[in-house]
């Protein structure tokens, strides 16, 4: 079991690295300009010239997927970074100080968890405008609750340990103890959660863009290429199949890596589950 999971996690890591290379070197790898229209080859099937075919405007789907990976990956990673920081902030304060602060923060977590995630994200984006930065911020600020709960429960047990008492006796203040002693010791499960979260954030971004409320054309993202795919469904399968497969395998890779990390950080859990 262990070997198998780790092999899968390694495969996930390799795939993530590959996609990252694609995203970083997109201008070098892409065969065409992602926004360049070619009215002579509209909706042409995959060929040597266009390996993923072309879309309704004659744009090269492969190049659009490559450039789209830049947008989709950076939104996924930055949104999760934001959600992890927010979650650590609230979770550590709630766990360390306890009492009324803890009660207030945990009620906030309960409240946020009541909103159907996708409704809340759509509503906020409807109020602001669907720029890339707003999308990052909104996904990040609506997904920190899991991390907050995780950090809080880790800190609740950590803060009773002797090394924390020692630090306190030496005169350390709350924020010093939280930042220097508690958070570093609670980071393992957070990392697992964050890795799984990147996959989730990529899914949310692509769904938003697919609905036309996320990344706006002409900027390509995996989700808004699929919007063109929906319009040409039944005529041009390649516009739908390739970008969707990129989303699927990328999210799968992050999930496999996350599971692998979970086994590495929490050997107890592996034994149990």
């Amino acid at each position: 079991m262990k070997m198998r999971v780790n092999k899968l996690a390694a495969a996930g890591t390799v795939f993530i690295a590959l996609i990252a290379v694609f995203a970083i070197f997109a201008p070098l790898i892409a065969s065409h300009d992602p926004a360049g229209m070619d009215t002579r080859s509209v909706l042409s099937p995959p060929s040597r010239e266009h390996i993923f075919g072309t879309d309704p405007l004659g744009r090269d789907v492969f190049s659009r997927v490559l450039y789209g990976s830049r947008i989709s990956l950076s939104i996924g990673i930055i949104a999760v970074g934001l959600s992890v920081l927010t979650g650590i902030f609230f979770g550590s304060i709630a766990g360390y100080y306890g009492g009324k602060i803890d009660y207030a923060i945990m009620r906030l977590v309960d409240i946020m968890l009541c909103f159907p995630t996708f409704f809340l994200i759509l509503a906020v984006i409807a109020m602001l405008e669907p720029s890339i930065y707003n999308i990052m911020a909104v996904i990040g600020l609506t997904s920190w609750m899991g991390v907050a709960r995780l950090v809080r429960s880790e800190i609740l047990t950590l803060k009773e340990r002797d090394f924390v008492a020692a630090s306190r006796i030496m005169g350390a203040g709350g924020s010093w103890i939280i930042i220097r002693h508690l958070i570093p010791n609670a980071i393992g499960p957070v990392l697992v959660n964050a890795t799984l979260g990147v996959g989730g954030a990529i899914l949310i971004e692509s769904a938003l863009s697919f609905l036309g409320i996320g990344v706006q054309p002409p900027t390509a993202s995996w989700g808004n290429i699929l919007m063109d795919g929906k319009a040409t469904l039944g005529v041009a399968w390649w516009v739908t199949v390739f970008p969707g497969a990129f989303i699927f395998f990328t999210v799968l890779a992050y999930n496999l890596l996350g599971e692998g990390l979970r086994d590495a950080f929490e050997p107890r859990l592996k034994d149990r589950s």
């Binding site: 009620r107 009541c114 159907p116 759509l122 989303i247």
Partner: protein, 327 residues
């Protein structure tokens, strides 16, 4: 029992106020307030509508007063009127709700009926062939973009094979059908949406059931049951399964928001006239009062779902009721 329920309900009150407060604040995120952005973004909004909106939300008053006024309305289920057709928001939402609730309940039934056996079987034969197979299925279920799967299924079963309709919930000539045909027609329209709505949740529940069952299988009462000579079948399906299902109920309550949220996606893909599609259309048209109404109602439905799950859990396991607040 009654005291327990009452105490639990009282705990929901701050959460309810929080929900209304956040819905209210989201509405005021818009630069210049809701009436400004709606009129500038949506040319369909007339000057009169804007004045009415300003008056409805009392946008000239201090924020705290506005919130109080809004709250008083919400408690009476008055969410104002839609900008688009001037109908009361609450009526618009209520008429769309049955479809969404029906689809979500059907998919919940599928999730439970399929997910629990899958999870239980993989826990019983851990690392066996079935367990490995279901692990692949679970990872795929977590990772696949639902709307992409929807497109693929639509193109295979709807466009290529012509087996299933791909949009709406009834055919054009629905009115002329006999009753059994009507039921069949709606069922055919809902097959794909319901399957899609269940897919993501299925992965989660079967995984959760597997770990819950694995924990139970190591408990001492299982060893006792085996030691006293009960057949293995009875040990697993009577003693273990019953105890392992309990925690799954809570998870089910927690998965309600994801299900409701997911309805935006599949209802707009399949053109199903439900809450999700209404929400999507309101977002596209910046119909603020409808957006706020659905956001609040969606959250309150979730709150109710969690409450029912909590109650079901403590009803099934009375130890919880005697032991504090159930957490």
């Amino acid at each position: 029992m009654t005291r327990y329920i009452v105490r639990h309900l009282a705990g929901l009150i701050p959460v309810f106020f929080g929900i209304t407060l956040i819905s209210f604040l989201v509405m005021h995120l818009a630069p210049g307030g809701p009436s400004d952005i709606s009129s500038s973004m949506n040319p369909k909004v007339s000057y009169e509508a804007r004045i009415r909106l300003d008056k409805l939300y009392g946008l000239d008053k201090p924020l705290i007063v506005q919130y109080k006024d809004w709250l008083v309305r919400v408690v009476r289920f008055d969410f104002g009127r839609s900008f688009i057709d001037d109908r009361p928001v609450f009526d618009k939402i209520i008429e769309k709700m049955p479809v969404t609730i029906f689809i979500n309940l059907s998919s919940l039934v599928i999730i439970l009926a399929v997910g629990i056996p899958i999870g239980a079987l993989s826990a019983v034969r851990r690392n066996g062939l079935f367990d490995r197979f279901s692990a692949v299925f679970v990872f795929a279920g977590y990772s696949i973009p639902e709307f992409w799967l929807a497109l693929l299924l639509m193109s295979v079963f709807g466009i290529s094979l012509h087996w299933l309709p791909i949009s709406g919930i009834k055919s054009i000539d629905f009115e002329y059908y006999s009753l059994p045909l009507k039921i069949l027609d709606v069922a055919r329209h809902l097959v794909l949406p319901v399957l899609l709505a269940s897919f993501g949740g299925l992965a989660g529940i079967s995984r959760y059931m597997r770990s819950s069952m694995s924990v139970v299988m190591r408990q001492e009462y299982i060893r006792t049951a085996r030691a006293k000579g009960l057949p293995e079948r009875k040990v697993i399906y009577v003693h273990a399964l019953k105890n392992a299902i309990l925690p799954v109920i809570t998870i089910l309550g927690l998965s309600v928001p994801a299900l409701i949220g997911g309805s935006v996606i599949f209802e707009s893909i399949f053109a199903i006239p439900g809450m999700g599609r209404l929400f999507y259309e309101s977002v596209m048209a910046r119909d603020y009062s409808v957006i706020m109404g659905i956001l609040s109602i969606g959250a309150i439905l979730t709150l109710a779902g969690n409450f029912i799950a909590d109650m079901a859990y403590s009803f099934a396991d009375p130890r919880i009721m005697s032991g504090g607040d159930g957490r």
